[in-house]
Symmetry: C2
Subunit: 448 residues, 2 copies
Amino acid sequence: MSHRLLVIGGDAGGMAAASTARRRGADFEIVALEQGPHTSYSACGIPYVISGDVWALDELIVRTPQQFRDQLRIDVRTGHRAMAIDLDRRTVEVRNLAQKRTYTLGFDMLHIATGARPRRPPIPGIDGPNVYGVQTLGDAAHLLEAVKAGACEQVVVIGGGYIGLELAEAFVKRQASVTVVEQSEEVMGTLDPDMGADVAVAMRQHGITLHTGEKVTAIEPGAVITSQRTVPTDLVILGLGVEPNSDLAADAGIDIGVRNAIAVDRRQRTSVEGIWAAGDCCQSRSIVTGQPIYVALGTVANKQARVAGINIAGGYATFPGVAGTAITKLCSLEVGRTGVNEREAKAAGFEYVVAKIESTTRAGYYPGAGTIKVKLLAERVTGRILGGQVVGNEGTAKRIDVLATAITAGMTAEDLVYLDLSYAPPFSPLWDPVQQAARRALSMQEAG
Amino acid sequence: MSHRLLVIGGDAGGMAAASTARRRGADFEIVALEQGPHTSYSACGIPYVISGDVWALDELIVRTPQQFRDQLRIDVRTGHRAMAIDLDRRTVEVRNLAQKRTYTLGFDMLHIATGARPRRPPIPGIDGPNVYGVQTLGDAAHLLEAVKAGACEQVVVIGGGYIGLELAEAFVKRQASVTVVEQSEEVMGTLDPDMGADVAVAMRQHGITLHTGEKVTAIEPGAVITSQRTVPTDLVILGLGVEPNSDLAADAGIDIGVRNAIAVDRRQRTSVEGIWAAGDCCQSRSIVTGQPIYVALGTVANKQARVAGINIAGGYATFPGVAGTAITKLCSLEVGRTGVNEREAKAAGFEYVVAKIESTTRAGYYPGAGTIKVKLLAERVTGRILGGQVVGNEGTAKRIDVLATAITAGMTAEDLVYLDLSYAPPFSPLWDPVQQAARRALSMQEAG
């Protein structure tokens, strides 16, 4: 009998697993179902297409269905939606959307990578015609049409997270008048409010209207109604984060974990033998707290998919978990975070010291030296680094990688102080800003 | 009896130790002797003053003697040279250079931070009037005078290391015709030749004449004579590295270690009770090989000085050693290295795989994405990362910090593959280039 691996989902979580399995010597049939027209694209690049920095949506496509067929013998079926999984019969009911017919496909192994969808809380009007989530190239294409039709003079972004703020900036570049409405007291909720406040200042200086601590109560044609005001709008963007597409798995009886994401073990196995999951539809584990968390990022999806693919091919790999790293560029600022923030540290029961410093991205005397703020959380008594946040000018964001690496290694503030980090005047002060923060943390730790 | 700490050397290795000791509660008298006129300056910034990128030499001064006196009660004596150490009497013979008189100063504790001097191999004419090392602000001032007097139309740099190449670029900016003569087959000997070759290409494209595999046999007034040619010159720069100023310590009977540097333990103690050393005059330990090495860099000097200062004040600190990290910016290229290169790995007896990749500094589709090459050495069997080198466009250099951190933590290529490094299109491809290299290394390791 020839084996069949069936993959549900044609983006990173699915196709990277399929590709890895094939490259690792899997010689069974691989069928991949994707309900949309595209495979493997960089959703993170969408804001830069909207802004015009990137020329066309096609540039975001990493690999086309035809390439998967030709190069990796993967039978990619776009426009095919998985409707239901039958665990007893080991079959999936598939809908050919164009031909409007349904068929049943058997599998020996199943890999679920159904991704996520933009959160749509039950606000009246949220399903209206000019309300867009930004998740797929299809979403992006609609927004681009609106831009080109000149139908977005006034844009409202609901939610002040990464994607929301990136899109706010993109529409400013398109000469739109942009308002961001954020329910919390501060934007960038993955940062602590004191760091998020710097982002808010930069956004406002850039000409973006920011209403924080304000709840959207309704979306009407031509206006967003908040707890405080009515904001006229041509276009509404949802930037409220995403939630996993886990219904298919849940309906079949596969275990669901944190935040409604599919539960997986370190090998990306679901609760059912021979069924795997990776990417935005499934959960991860925090290497800081040891707890399951939900992180919908392309980096995580690709790593989980790699692990799943190796295991599916009969190899052995485990996913160690995520530090919780994320960066973005917003107007003049670069922003990064890793590990836990104060809210998360408290929730996990950590006692910690907070060290915060302001320094320069280059040697202070070197042309182009900008400002960088670093905030570190270090565990009390042990000094173990629990989390870090950076906000600053050019050269700031990628510094978070040192902290992500140090956290993964279980390093303490003292370890960080003595790390042999690189220095040259065009790139850094003599003590790198992350080490300046570590020195501060260490002295606080020593002071008890 | 009031205690006295005597510090010999007014740059980082000395003053950072004195400052740390004072801040850590040391209430004894601190006297610091410096033969030159300046304390605590950034010698690494000199090329950028020569090039004109940095306005004045004064900008490189971190803290003046008067500031040390006022803020930290450190009795800094500039223009005072330590002539000899008497270990039996616990005294130092001091020469007041301006007044041309000598006196004797007792100490309870002595901290030696005599720094390093440019290497001057026995080439005829190397001590001639237009031959400059670049170590002190005084050296820099002489070079600046030459620039301003228009006396450097033709410049020859002997040695193709960091400082030599940085100065070559600086003089090109001053419209000089610059020739670099390097004895080895490739420039940047701290990199492997295949990576150094990229630097050579960039330097030549920048208009610098590069003669590699060529030995300087003599320096004459107006010309440098090599094994192959005579190069006319107004000014000769020595870029042959430095050697420790350890004679004072050696003459007193203090143990000398590798490369003629002062031997110290992990607390920065010399072989003699109550005598410490830090900075370019003393040795370090490689965290990769475990062997003593000599690294003359400001980052190392400051960390060693911090450790010495804490211990001198009665605290406890140890210096864990160096990864061997260094970066620079040369013309259009950023260059970095950490850990061991192939030559060093072989010398230490390591068996290793070499993974080399070429990628982009940003997402390939994002404007401004440049090229980056990453070379990784991973130990055979264990996969432990032994060293890394990066050469590329803007955004390249500081990526070496992740590798330095990973090496310090003893991480393997597989650990590096699954690190939660940051990604956003303006900063990185989805798999950071260092992780692309780690994937390559891992697959080579798995293949045996």
